[in-house]
């Protein structure tokens, strides 16, 4: 700053910026107020008592993690890729046609007929024959045999009819079992997707709260910083607590996305739902090729998605 010649230039210069007296007086008072408010707020973090929202306990139970359960690939191998569908068909066929409950039903049918014969048919036959003194004759024996013969024939017919009608049921059960296995794996995947969505979003909430707690002094001090520089045009850099604002992100984040996509799974349909039970059970045996139908939820999700796109477009 000094000139040449013999003059000596000062090593430093100081520049003081002053404002009108009334401003400086008020600003000084203002800074004291801010300081006082800062002292009250800086050690009073509302986030210090925050308790993390727990996710793992709700999904897996206390003390368990996702690693404690079968992996998705294990489940896929067990219920789908590694499933012996031929053995399953044989198992379903045998279990449907020759199961103990089927044999019990046939036996019960025989018991019902026996009961009716013993309590109604034979007494009625005997009563008439006693009047004729024919109880001891061969005709009476033949007559009783006729009734017993019919009983045997009817039980056999019932058994055969029942088993014949159960053949398409066995086929339908096999299909249902396959669909069920598919659903088991699909829903396992959906549950896993939901877990990671929830975990990601809730972790974000938990860590944001922790960050807000740690940054709380800076949140408070930022107001004081702005107050100090007020005359120079400094402004408060935030309108929120330091740390991410989380709620809106969660609502529009992965968890909400899961709400759109998750669980729009199909329900297993009965063979009558797909229009073939009449033929499957009572008729020619035509079977449903696909007894899984997808509910209207998929269409609903599509409508919701379209409305969402429209909402975004008109933002």
């Amino acid at each position: 700053m000094g000139g040449g010649g013999g003059g000596s230039a000062p090593a430093y210069t100081w520049s003081e910026i002053r404002y009108a007296g009334y401003i400086e007086a008020r600003h000084s008072d203002f800074l004291l107020s801010v300081y006082s408010a800062r002292i009250g707020a800086i050690s009073n973090s509302p986030f210090s008592a925050y308790t993390d929202i727990e996710v793992d306990d709700a999904f897996f139970g206390a003390g368990y993690t996702i690693s404690s359960f079968p992996s998705l690939y294990d489940m896929y191998g067990k219920f789908m890729a590694g499933l012996d569908i031929e053995a399953l068909w044989t198992q379903e066929y045998n279990d449907t046609i020759d199961s103990s409950v089927v044999n019990d039903l046939i036996a019960a049918e025989g018991a019902l007929i026996d009961d009716e014969i013993e309590t109604t048919s034979i007494p009625r036959l005997q009563t008439g024959m006693r009047d004729l003194n024919s109880v001891m004759s061969s005709s009476f024996v033949v007559g009783k045999s006729l009734i017993e013969d019919t009983r045997t024939k009817m039980v056999a017919k019932f058994s055969a009819d029942l088993k014949y009608r159960l053949i398409p049921v066995a086929q339908s059960r096999w299909q249902t079992h396959l669909d069920w296995n598919k659903q088991v794996v699909s829903i396992y995947a959906e549950v896993m997707k939901l877990y990671f969505s929830a975990k990601t979003d809730i972790d974000e909430v938990n860590y944001a709260m922790a960050a807000k707690n740690i940054l709380w002094p800076f949140t408070v001090l930022d107001f004081e910083r702005a107050a100090l520089g007020a005359l120079q045009g400094a402004t408060n850099s935030k309108t929120d607590v330091a740390g991410a604002s989380t709620a809106s992100r969660v609502l529009s984040g992965a968890l909400s996305g899961a709400a759109m996509g998750a669980m729009v799974g199909g329900a297993i349909k009965t063979s009558s739902d797909v229009g073939s039970l009449g033929s499957a059970v009572y008729g020619t045996g035509a079977n449903a090729a696909n007894v899984v139908g997808y509910s209207y939820a998929g269409a609903g999700a599509g409508v919701g998605a379209l409305l969402g796109i429209a909402a975004a477009a008109t933002y």
Binding site: G3, G6, G7, S8, A9, P10, T13, E16, I17, A20, Y22, R26, H27, A37, A41, Y50, E54, A58, F59, G61, Y64, M75, V101, D104, L105, E109, L112, I113, E116, L125, L132, S134, S137, F140, I147, K157, L162, T176, V184, Y188, L194, D201, A227, V241, L251, S252, A259, M260, A262, M263, I268, Y296, G300, V303, G304, A305, L307, A311, A312, T314
Partner: protein
């Protein structure tokens, strides 16, 4: 600056404005300070009561960890569920109902009425006319009538039971779907819980922070008036620069409502759709509130 003159190292710049501006500015500062002093202790957020979503979801004194985990429920209702025993149970239940045999007996009693009052008397009458009452043909004839009765009985019983096969299969499939719905519903509830927990927790702590920061917020308004004469500065804005249009708000809420209704519909048909729709609408409105 040069020559033998010494240059002062201290420079003082005082920013001044026209007296009428300074007068008005002084009045503004004083007025702001007066308002600040009067409202700084008024804490409008002090009486905010935290929303206790846990009580609403789980009941007083309970937390989500007190209920079966989602994986437990999944194991019980899906992966570990015995599909074969369900079929046997439903088949047995549907085909051995006591009512089925009662129905059969009721029908055969009606047939017996006809047999006792019409068929047998007519048979006896005709045999008497033939003088064949005391011969073996009469016995065999009566036995044939009883045999036919047994056939009718068996046919009626079989017809009724065969019709129940469809019911057994329907019940079997519906119970499997029900198990799926239980898990879907549980998942939906859990998802809704976490969305609510995040949103409400954020709201609770936001209000708590606003309460503690209230003096700072008030003083921040005062800060902004000190430099009022600089262009572009004003009271701090607390709202977003860009707001969603009304049409967009309506469509956004509609989108969430429809999605909620259809997702709910998969879980619980019409009641589920209604509940899902309400939940979707609430979530949609909440989204708008937190934007």
């Amino acid at each position: 600056m040069g020559g033998g003159n010494s240059t002062s190292a201290w420079r003082s710049h005082e920013q001044r404005f026209a007296p009428y501006v300074e007068n008005r500015h002084a009045d503004l500062i004083n007025t702001t300070a007066a308002y600040r002093a009067s409202i700084i202790a008024e804490y409008p957020y002090a009486d905010y009561v935290d929303q206790n979503f846990n009580e609403v979801f789980f009941g007083v004194g309970y937390a989500i960890a007190d209920f079966p985990s989602l994986y437990d429920m999944y194991g019980k209702f899906m992966a570990g569920f015995d599909v074969e025993s369900l079929w046997n149970k439903n088949f047995s239940t549907a085909t051995t109902l006591e009512e089925l045999d009662e129905k059969t007996r009721k029908v055969i009693v009606d047939k017996d009425e006809n047999l006792i009052h019409e068929t047998l008397p007519e048979f006896k009458l005709k045999m008497r006319e033939l003088g064949a009452v005391n011969c073996s043909s009469f016995v065999i004839g009566k036995a044939q009538i009883e045999s036919n009765r047994t056939k009718v009985l068996s046919t009626i019983s079989a017809d009724i039971k065969f019709k129940m096969l469809e019911e057994a299969e329907n019940k079997f499939v519906k119970e499997l779907n029900w198990n799926q719905d239980v898990i879907k519903g549980y998942s939906e509830m859990m998802k809704f819980y976490y969305m609510t927990a995040a949103t409400v927790t954020d709201a609770n702590y936001t209000f708590a922070a606003k309460n503690v920061l209230w003096p700072m917020e008030v003083l921040d308004f005062e800060r902004s008036v000190f430099n009022a004469m600089k262009p572009g500065l004003g009271f701090p804005k607390t709202y977003l620069q860009r707001e969603r249009s009304t049409v967009s708000k309506v469509l956004s809420v509609s989108s969430d409502t429809v999605t909620g209704a259809f997702v709910g519909g998969t879980v619980g048909n019409w009641p589920g759709a209604i509940v899902g729709g309400v939940i979707g609408a609430v979530v949609g409105i909440a989204k708008l509130m937190f934007e």
